[in-house]
Symmetry: C2
Subunit: 421 residues, 2 copies
């Protein structure tokens, strides 16, 4: 089927491993249908006539956002003067409670999905609210826009806000029903999502353990060791646990592919438990600073072999674009480098680039970079409007566009082999 | 002259004092020619027919950027993995050296001026390079775009890069010639600009002292106590000074209206010296983090009564938009709050908003806010493309647009009473 062969051309930049950056100036990504056949400096004859030529623009793998709260999108950039508990009570919980209305959910999630894909984010692990119907709407809208990955109906049967809490039974029943009604989805799949330990009674956790055992295909997402008050609270709720993570482990949710957002205060034992179990840490630097949680030890986790990817964590984070998260990660790491007496190295641009591209590809089972056989997830970046600088190299151009990124930087986005922007 | 009366209408938000925010929803700014006659909830009859109605948009005073390096604009967002001295040698100095060419300067400064005004920055204190001709081009281009304030031909007769150093005599002679040839400018005026103490020999500083004495209208800008290595270096160069600032003071440059960028490590005595002399601290949080200088004690300076305004400090800073600088200031202050054991309060949105609007107005002799008799400097902000949120107040809308700012947020910009965007 020759007509299934096509290619895109541009300056290719990608990261196969953390800290490495590969380039192919003026290269081709060769495609068959939705899948990558390879990359090449020359165009094979059989692709002639089917090339989308992006000229001097830069083509990289698209971005992955592995932690964000969809129902907090209406409050993005709001309430930043409040501390965590006041922020939850005054902003997060009342906003999430509105997603009882399907119409509000539809309007909000259509916009969110559109803003994600416009920024080159094609893969997510995303929290919904506790509402099953709104969660299905979120999954519909993400799929319609071309955003793939996992979404989670949130479980919370204690310590919620007004109009934002389930009974234990409702939480379990609704989750089972939701998992079953979404079992056929291809692009955005369900993920178990206990909000965090203080939101879930032991009975609810036991229910989630049973669901996880029956549905081994369901990955798990939650929060871990985000701030010191939260850690003390978990310790009160689970006095048998010396470490926060054990409260997930004892219900069978600490397993390969489980993702844990924040990990600001994971100590050596908790980090080793992550590595040993194949649990991923999701670094959310913008949120960790905005909510004054602290600066996560990303460099140490990477050195110890913990899997790390990144999340915007809107609306604790105020930046939806993953390049902004990448540069915030670098900024935060520089302050940690400074406060460590320059012992703990800061993150480099190449490392942060990997964390928003290759790390997510790996989480979703694709090869970091442009892997043969993988469906194309790519973003075409346009830096032609930036300052004139004749001396700049291709990797410097990538660095600059990460630092100066806005939506006008994105010329095209491919998701699952299809151009969506 | 009735035809000189006009008004703009919108949701007015301004800050007259740090920490306060005033609003007038659906209000009018009444104008006569280029000057503000007042603000009003109703339109007086004589203005009818001459109203620019911005509907539901937000109108605030425009932004001031009191520290940035114009010739570093081509390297904005580059070299961020390097530490200060390597960054200077590999990026900053070679880039600045290119401004020997007028054509390169013209192209770069035309673009920079356009990008500043598009972002609502209408007032600057800006470093040029050491080149007199390029500095004049910078002043021309700023004025042509509607950016006002002060620009400085840099003085540096030691410790420069290849092709980026003057002799002492050249530096003094060129400065005198430059001051004289720009004495007639109205919108962008000259400012004495010794790069920093390590760049200027004692003989050069004596020369600048003489120029300052002859031209009392010239304000002074430089760098102060940005990082610990630099402070140690200044101490070596001026063993008679217990404090960095004294190396400016002994040459008569420490005086009312002098502005000092960074002030990350100013101790109590140095801060008191600023307050007593009427010297302003220019806070540059993005740069201080990118170059890993540290987090300046802004809260303490404000409490002690030191005058503070803000700078993007491109290209140590990577963000040209002042709202980005404002939110970076808040982020950095939260990490300082955390590391102080929550003793040193973080900056609020209202405070950061004042620092990028009212503080600059005060520096340039205007009344913070929309002062009667002042020429109108204002920006019209458009948040209609942000997420649907029916519950949001006007001050929350301002907060959100500061956090989520990009160039599409700016609908119109007025400078010196004239619409420029």
């Amino acid at each position: 089927m020759k007509k299934n062969l096509w290619a895109i051309k541009g300056n290719l930049v990608w990261a196969e491993r953390i800290g490495e950056m590969s380039t192919l100036p003026g290269g081709y990504i060769l495609m068959e249908g939705e899948g990558i056949k390879g990359i090449s400096a020359e165009l094979p004859e059989e692709y002639a006539g089917n090339v989308e030529d992006y000229g001097d623009k830069i083509i990289t793998p698209s971005f992955s956002d592995l932690h964000l709260h969809a129902p907090q999108y209406p409050m993005l950039g709001l309430g930043m003067d409040l501390q965590l508990l006041d922020w939850l009570d005054n902003y997060a919980f009342p906003t999430e409670a509105r997603f009882e209305e399907d119409e509000f959910a539809r309007k909000t999630y259509k916009k969110l999905a559109s803003e994600l894909i416009k920024r080159g984010t094609t893969r997510v692990c995303i929290f919904s609210s506790l509402h099953r119907s709104a969660t299905n709407i979120l999954m519909d809208e993400l799929e319609a826009a071309g955003v793939t990955g996992y979404a989670g109906k949130v479980n919370m049967d204690r310590n919620g806000g007004i109009n934002l809490q389930e009974t234990t039974e409702e939480s379990i029943d609704e989750t089972i029903r939701w998992v079953e009604e979404n079992s056929g989805r291809k692009l955005v799949k369900p993920m178990l999502t206990p909000r965090f330990i203080p939101s879930c009674t032991d009975e609810l956790m036991e229910g989630l353990e049973r669901i996880a055992a029956e549905h081994s295909e369901l990955p798990v997402q939650s929060h871990l060791s985000e701030n010191l008050d939260e850690i003390a609270w978990v310790k009160e709720l689970h006095p048998d646990c010396t470490h926060y993570y054990q409260a997930y482990e004892k219900y069978g949710l600490w397993k390969p592919g489980t993702i844990m957002a924040h990990c600001v205060y994971c100590d050596e034992k908790e980090r080793k438990a992550m590595k040993d179990a194949g649990v991923w840490a999701i670094h959310c630097p913008d949120s960790n600073t905005n909510i004054a949680s602290g600066i996560a030890p990303v460099r140490i986790m990477l050195q110890e072999g913990v899997k790390v990817a990144m999340g915007s964590d809107i609306a604790g984070g105020a930046k939806l674009s993953m390049p902004d998260s990448a540069t915030e990660a670098i900024r935060a790491s520089k302050l940690r480098w400074l406060s460590s007496g320059k012992k703990e190295d800061f993150l480099t641009v190449a490392e942060a680039f990997y964390l928003i591209t290759g790390a997510g590809q790996e989480y979703f089972g694709a090869k970091p970079g442009f892997g043969v056989g993988d469906k194309l997830h790519a973003v075409v970046l346009d830096d032609s409007n930036l300052a004139y600088n004749p001396a700049i190299t291709l990797t410097e151009r990538l660095e600059r566009i990460l630092y100066l990124f806005d939506t006008s930087s994105v010329k095209a986005v491919y998701s699952e082999g299809v151009r969506r922007v």
